[in-house]
């Protein structure tokens, strides 16, 4: 899906570490914080490791593979920008590394969604500046 100037949906409102997260996505790299003290992965970004208390961390690259944790299917648009999108499904994917994130699946219809369905990251360059991590079915 090529980026387009006509992209109408809201873009992420970013600053600080969320801007860094999306900058990696622009390079088609899905990266999350990983504690360099104890190795625990985390998302959304935090200052500290909640497990060991370390302030030291790195942006570690995810395999991009995961499974479907839950979903909803929006039928009534709650923002005007999404009026042409319904029905669409904001899903939660659990990555192999254990972190979970909100995303869309690009190739699964709402009535085909199943808990635990294997998926893999599929980057969508929605504008020249912004790439959203989305997911597709995987084997």
């Amino acid at each position: 899906m090529a980026g387009s100037l006509s992209y109408k949906l809201p873009l992420p409102r970013v600053g600080g570490r969320s801007a860094e997260f999306y900058n990696f996505c622009k390079r088609h790299e899905l990266r999350f914080q990983r504690c360099t003290g104890c190795g625990t992965w985390r998302h959304i970004p935090r200052d500290m490791c909640a497990k060991c208390g370390s302030f030291d961390w790195e942006w570690a690259r995810s395999s991009g593979k995961g499974k479907l944790f839950s979903w909803t299917t929006a039928v009534q648009p709650m923002m005007r920008q999404f009026a042409d999108q319904v029905p669409y499904s904001p899903v939660i994917v659990e990555l192999e590394e254990g972190v979970r994130m909100v995303t869309w699946l690009t190739d699964v219809k709402p009535d085909e969604l199943q808990l635990g369905m294997p998926v893999e990251v599929a980057f969508d360059d929605v504008t020249p500046e912004v790439t959203l991590p989305k997911f597709r079915r995987s084997a």
Partner: protein
């Protein structure tokens, strides 16, 4: 071990008119409710010396300036969304038990219909750039990580929990419908209820349009222009006031972990109330069997079910059986939302649930009175699952 058991009492309750189109400011609605609650207690506005302001719409100081309270000794705000009013009871009990304040006012309300703050960009008015109140502590999470995927409002976030529960435990639509139907039935006995005169059957529920799967229209609460207010006083003074005192016997707050992101929770069914409930029950010294009725925060039907499991009224996955067969209706084992709740009375951030619980325990509820009610509970839920629980007795 601390205990606030029976140290604070609800001595006054009041509300504004409930409407779709108040023509008033939110502060104006809340002041109307406040004056009614103060009058109900037999107090004067100048007797109030503590105010726990609402999470939105006005500050404690706005109330003091209007009510003429020169010496406001205690002012705070609980930022827990729809859990704020119930958790404010904890703060009020602490204030009167310690002597920091004598009479604490808890006002809350909004123009939930007219200003259309939740469904921004929906049918009525386009406020699409403000999917959540701007000062909401969750705005960063939503803006950076949920907004691009169109997950901007509670009906979508809490659906993530409901779907997972349905798939893991076989929870059927009809069990969610049982909540909506029971609440609507109760509202037929409540003159103030927005949905009085509009009964709802299970067939009506199942036929209603989908909003965000698995939530249909009748899984969702109302949007109302409405306010309520509560007055809390120390137990030793409460006996001398106009109304029979309603004791705050057990009260606690709880926060899910982490509170600011639903997907990251190790167990998504562990919510604020999971932490609050054991503390409040222990403080009150009662068990589930002692509870005569429950006013449970009901932004969505499934959220009631989630809270019943979190409080331990049934085991996880068993709530589908708990809520059916009339158990949660008036005359049943545990009547829930005897006023109609946010679904069928009005959406007043659950402050109306506290008002109803107090009136049930005063035995002032007429046709919907729970017979011989001695002990009841009120829950709050908000901001991704923050929770509060108050166990009240007469």
């Amino acid at each position: 071990m601390y205990s606030l058991k029976d140290q604070g009492c609800i001595v006054g309750v009041g509300e504004s008119a409930f409407s779709r189109g108040s023509g008033k400011t939110e502060l104006g609605l809340m002041l109307e409710a406040s004056v009614n609650a103060i009058n109900d207690a037999g107090l004067k506005p100048h007797d109030i010396d503590g105010i726990i302001g609402p999470p939105l719409g006005a500050t404690a100081e706005h109330f003091a300036a209007n009510l003429g309270i020169e010496d406001l000794r205690y002012a705070t705000t609980v930022h827990m969304g729809g859990a704020s009013p119930v958790v404010s009871l904890q703060s009020a009990a602490m204030a009167v038990a310690s002597g920091v304040a004598t009479n604490v006012l808890i006002p809350c309300g909004w123009n939930g219909y007219s200003s259309n703050p939740v469904r921004g960009g929906g049918a009525r008015v386009d406020t699409g750039e403000r999917p959540m109140p701007s000062q909401n502590p969750l705005a960063n999470t939503i803006g950076a990580y949920y907004l691009p995927y169109g997950a901007t409002v509670p009906v979508q976030w809490y659906a993530w929990l409901a779907i997972r529960h349905m798939k893991l435990y076989g929870t059927p639509f009809e069990s969610m419908g049982a909540i909506a139907v029971a609440e609507r039935k109760h509202a037929q006995l409540n003159d103030k209820a927005m949905m009085r005169g509009r009964p709802l059957s299970m067939d009506d529920y199942l036929a209603s349009r989908m909003v965000s799967f698995p939530f249909r229209l009748y899984d969702c609460c109302l949007e109302t222009d409405a306010a309520c207010a509560i007055v809390v006083t120390a137990a030793d003074r409460a006996k001398d006031l106009k109304q029979p005192p309603v004791y705050i016997s057990g009260v606690a707050e709880g926060h899910p972990y982490p509170a600011d992101d639903i997907p990251a929770r190790p167990d998504p069914f562990v919510i604020g109330l999971t932490f609050a409930a054991p503390k409040a029950f222990a403080m009150a010294g009662v068990t589930h069997k002692d509870i005569d009725f429950a006013e449970v925060y009901d932004c969505f039907t499934y959220v009631v079910m989630l809270q019943l499991e979190a409080m331990g009224f049934c085991k996880r996955g068993e709530v589908k059986d708990f809520v059916t067969g009339g158990r949660i209706e008036l005359g049943g084992e545990l009547p829930i939302n005897t006023h109609g709740g946010l679904h069928s009375e009005a959406h007043v951030w659950g402050t109306n649930h506290i008002v109803e619980a107090a009136r049930q325990l005063r035995h002032q509820c007429g046709a919907r009175q729970v017979k011989d009610a001695e002990v009841g509970l009120v829950t709050g839920w908000g901001d991704f699952g923050d929770g509060g629980l108050a166990i009240l007795r007469r």
